[in-house]
Every structure is written in structure tokens, then in C-alpha cells.
Amino acid sequence: MKLEEFNNAVKSKISCGYEFKEDKDSYSNPSAWIILKDKRDSEVVAKAIKAYKGRCVVATAYKNDGEDVHTVIYHFDIAGTIINMQLQTDDATIHAITHILPSANWAEREIREMYGVEPIGHPNKDRLFLDYSIAKGVLNEYISLSKMQLGVSDTDVLWNNVNKEAN
């Protein structure tokens, strides 16, 4: 499949605009990035992936530094070519694509569990890995002990307090 062909297939259907970037890995295998301006267009891309007999390999989420915005990247495969679809959400919701591509099932459930981003319309509400006693979006909230300890020495809090005492 040619990436240009796929781009032409989604071009007229994406309503709110997007950026299309072609990339290659270290061994010249082609891949592409579709960066959506509006997260609601994710279903359009998912339908095109399905039409090309593709699958969702996995999805990645992360919280943008210093913002209350999450970035979600779906990694699709069509006959050996990776297509990454990137979107952003500022209200902790995305439109689930599992009903279009069942291969996205666990990936979307994990995003809900780890980042508290709700995939609206996902058929499965159960927890995947974490116990129910642990809050949703735990990766947004908790910091590890090592980070906390480093955090103390990273800042000047302790140093300033010692200086204040000394003066």
C-alpha cells in the first residue's frame, strides 16, 4: 500500500483538518503520522484502516507537560506499514474505535485505566490490570519514591531552608 494512496482516501473525509507526515525507520521501512486537529476525526481514520484490512497494533497516551491535556497516539498497521494517528484531548475523553477495530480493545482500556482518559463508547468497562481500589488515571497522580527523593534534591527547597537557618 502506498502512503499517498491512504492519505487521499482519508483527505476528503476528515472534517477538521490534519497534518500528514511520512517517515522511515533506520531500515527504510515507510511509516506515516496523521496528526488530527479534532479528536472526533479518529473514527474516520479507523474506518479507513479497516477498509485497507489493517489493524490497531496498540495506542500510547501521555499527559502533556504542565498542561491538563493528554496526547493519544494510535499505532496502526496495514500490510507491514505503520500509520500513527495522533490526537489531543483537554477533557479526558476520546471517541473509542474498538467497535470499528476490535484490535484496539485492550489499548483503549489501558488508556482509561492508566491515564483516566475515557474512551466513549468502549464496550468493556472492566478493569484490565489494576485493582478497583486504585483510582483511574493513576499514572497522572502518583510519583515514585525515587522521583520524590530526587525531586527534593532537584529543587532549592532544602538548600534555601538550610541557608535561612544558617543566616
Binding site: 525507520d25 531500515y27 484490512k53 497494533v57 522521583k147
Partner: protein, 365 residues
């Protein structure tokens, strides 16, 4: 009147290699009518942990995601870092990476097959499979110094090299192992006890396999070839097309088909190792020990023994990843279990589970 039985397996059970919890419902004929699988017993928060460690430390941490495919994690992670850093790995290092990976594949797949024969209560076949695997374990111990974690990879290349003596040892080992493997392959294909327990059991039809997005021997057992070494070749597979495996595809989609697809992988791995050591490229084994990792993003894949392994890495120019995400084959193969188990006998459940060669430590991270 239909009587429903509720059966639980796990989370800890002698027939399970790792912890997982099955809640099954079965009718009076012991046929499974409902499946619920509960995960999370081995979740370690590793994706969070890797963002607290530097790039060198993560090479060690990724090797400990899992034991059976431990080599694939640092290998794929290194590919992601090298893509961001724009580093071209020396050809000799690419060859060394492929050798380590294929040795690991043989040992991993043979372990799964011996567990399968164990569950089929065919202990003679299990013993012979394990004994054959021992040669590969010994080889790993002699060359890489460890029977599981080989520590073969480093950023920009490999930590180990092969001299003439070690290459001779590899060839000697393969000479001893290959006839045993061919004999085992014939027995797995035709042995009546093994066939009785595996043929027609845990069927995953082609259409379901496509929809769920399974990979590796599970996909190949249902007639789908999405082997990354063929579809998006990397490392030495990209430079030498003749190294790409001739994959074994089976149409049956049952436990037996998956076992035989795995056997195809094992024999191709032996052929690949022979081809690589017969024509080792000269040169360095790495570029630089501590490369600078600029800001960037990479999505890379390799073919682990169980199927496609994908890594996403995002960096910001500091010493640690901003985000690192990986997905192992079992993550998607797991959903296929429900299709395989529903309508089959309760007695076959652990056998069906084993046939996807589940790696729960990898899946839950």
C-alpha cells in the same frame, strides 16, 4: 434440565506458568459456555519506571520485562534509541544481534512446546523436547554467560563478539540439535497421543484472527503471515533478504497448528543462524558507548518468539525518556483466547492457554 457449572482456574495453579484468573461456566457436558479472564497479578508499573531511569539503565531494565523473550526487549528498545539518535549500527553488530535473537527464539519456542506436551501428559515427548532445548541453553551459557538474560545488546551495537572458536561451537551445537529437531517435528506432526489432544482443539478461525489482530505463531497457525522480519524487515534481515524466514502457515487454527507453526519458526531460526555465521561481516560491534539522544520520537518493531513486539519512545534531549510504551504479542493474542476457549471442553482450557505461549509478565509490565 441444563445444569451450569461454575469453574475457576487460578490465579495460582500448577497448570499455569504465571498468575491469571479464569472464571468459566460450563454445561453438563463440560463444554465452556462463558469465559471471563481476570488479569493484573503481575502488573509492575514498568512503563512508569522507565521514565525515571536513564537510557543506559533502561537497557538493563527492559531485559527484565520477561525472561523467555528477554533479548527482544533491549534489542527493540535499542532500535528506537538509535532511530532517534540517527545512528547506523555496524553490519557486524546487526549480524550478532540476529544470532542472539534466533538462538533465543529456538530456546523459547522449545520451552513452550515442552510445556504443551507436559499438559498433554505426553512426558516422553516433553522430556525429549526439553533435552533438545538444553543444548541451546548450554550454548547461551557458554557464549553469553547466562542461560536466560543474554545481555547481548547495547545502544549502538552489541556487547559481545564471536571469534572462530565460538562460531565453531555454534555450528557444532546446531549440528547436534538439528537432527533432533527434525525428529521431534515429525513426532509432533504425527504422534497419535499428541494429535488426539491438540487437533481440533481451541480453534481460532481466520476471520477472528484478522479482526482481533493476533501476531506470531498464533496468527500463522490461522493462516496469517504478519512476521515483522518479512513484512517490515529490520537489522540484518533488511540487508540480506535471503535471511528472511520462510514462514510456516497452517489453515487449521487449532492448538496443533500453532505448535507446528512454532516448529517452522524453530527450524528457520536454525537455518538463519547457520547462514549468518557462515558469512560474518567484519568490523566493529558498536559505534559509541554513550551516544547523545536528542529530542525525538520513534516507533519500531521486531519479531519476538511470540510475535510482533512494538516500542514507542519519546525523548526531549534529556537523559531519560519522556514516554516509553511497548506492546508484546500476548497483549492482543489474549483476546483470541475467548474465541478459542468458548465451546471447547473445560479440560482443554490450560492447554489452549498454553498454545498462545502466553507471556503475562510481558503483557502486564
Amino acid at each position: 434440565m441444563t445444569q451450569t457449572q461454575k469453574i475457576t482456574i487460578g490465579p495460582f495453579n500448577p497448570e499455569l506458568e504465571e498468575s491469571v484468573y479464569f472464571k468459566l461456566e460450563a454445561d453438563e457436558n463440560r463444554v465452556v459456555t462463558h469465559v471471563e479472564i481476570i488479569n493484573g497479578f503481575i502488573h509492575r508499573g514498568m512503563e512508569s519506571l522507565v521514565t525515571k531511569k536513564n537510557f543506559m539503565q533502561n537497557l538493563i531494565l527492559t531485559e527484565r520485562v520477561c525472561s523467555l523473550c528477554s533479548n527482544n526487549h533491549p534489542f527493540t528498545y535499542a532500535l528506537a534509541v538509535e532511530k532517534i539518535a540517527g545512528i547506523k549500527v555496524p553490519l557486524r553488530a546487526e549480524a550478532l544481534r540476529v544470532i542472539a535473537d534466533e538462538v533465543k527464539r529456538v530456546a523459547s519456542d522449545l520451552f513452550n512446546l515442552s510445556m504443551l506436551t507436559h499438559l498433554a501428559h505426553h512426558h516422553e515427548l516433553m522430556r525429549d523436547t526439553m533435552n533438545t532445548r538444553e543444548h541451546m541453553q548450554d550454548l547461551k551459557e557458554i557464549i553469553w554467560g547466562n542461560r536466560m538474560d543474554m545481555s547481548a545488546n547495547q545502544l549502538t551495537g552489541t556487547k559481545y563478539d564471536l571469534d572462530e572458536k565460538k562460531i565453531e561451537l555454534i555450528i557444532d551445537t546446531l549440528d547436534r540439535v538439528e537432527p533432533k529437531l527434525r525428529d521431534l517435528q515429525e513426532r509432533y506432526e504425527n504422534d497419535e497421543i499428541f494429535r488426539e489432544k491438540t487437533v481440533g482443539v481451541g480453534v481460532l478461525p481466520y476471520e477472528d484472527a484478522i479482526e482481533i489482530g493476533v501476531t506470531g505463531p498464533v496468527a500463522r497457525g490461522s493462516g496469517i503471515n504478519n512476521d515483522v522480519r518479512v513484512m517490515a524487515p529490520y537489522s540484518l534481515y533488511a540487508y540480506r533478504k535471503e535471511l528472511q524466514p520462510k514462514v510456516t502457515l497452517r489453515e487449521e487454527g487449532d492448538v496443533h497448528a500453532r505448535a507446528m507453526a512454532r516448529f517452522g519458526d524453530i527450524l528457520e531460526a536454525v537455518r538463519i543462524i547457520r547462514d549468518v555465521v557462515a558469512d560474518m561481516p567484519e568490523g566493529d560491534t558498536y559505534v559509541e558507548k554513550r551516544p547523545h539522544i536528542p529530542a525525538g520520537e520513534a516507533v519500531v518493531r521486531t519479531e519476538a518468539p511470540r510475535g510482533e513486539l512494538i516500542y514507542y519512545l519519546k525523548t526531549d534531549g534529556s537523559q531519560k525518556p519522556v514516554r516509553m510504551r511497548w506492546k508484546v504479542p500476548t497483549f492482543t493474542n489474549w483476546e483470541a483466547l475467548k474465541v478459542m476457549i468458548l465451546g471447547d471442553k473445560v479440560d482443554n482450557v490450560t492447554m489452549i492457554l498454553n498454545s498462545i505461549d502466553p507471556c503475562i509478565s510481558c503483557t502486564e509490565r
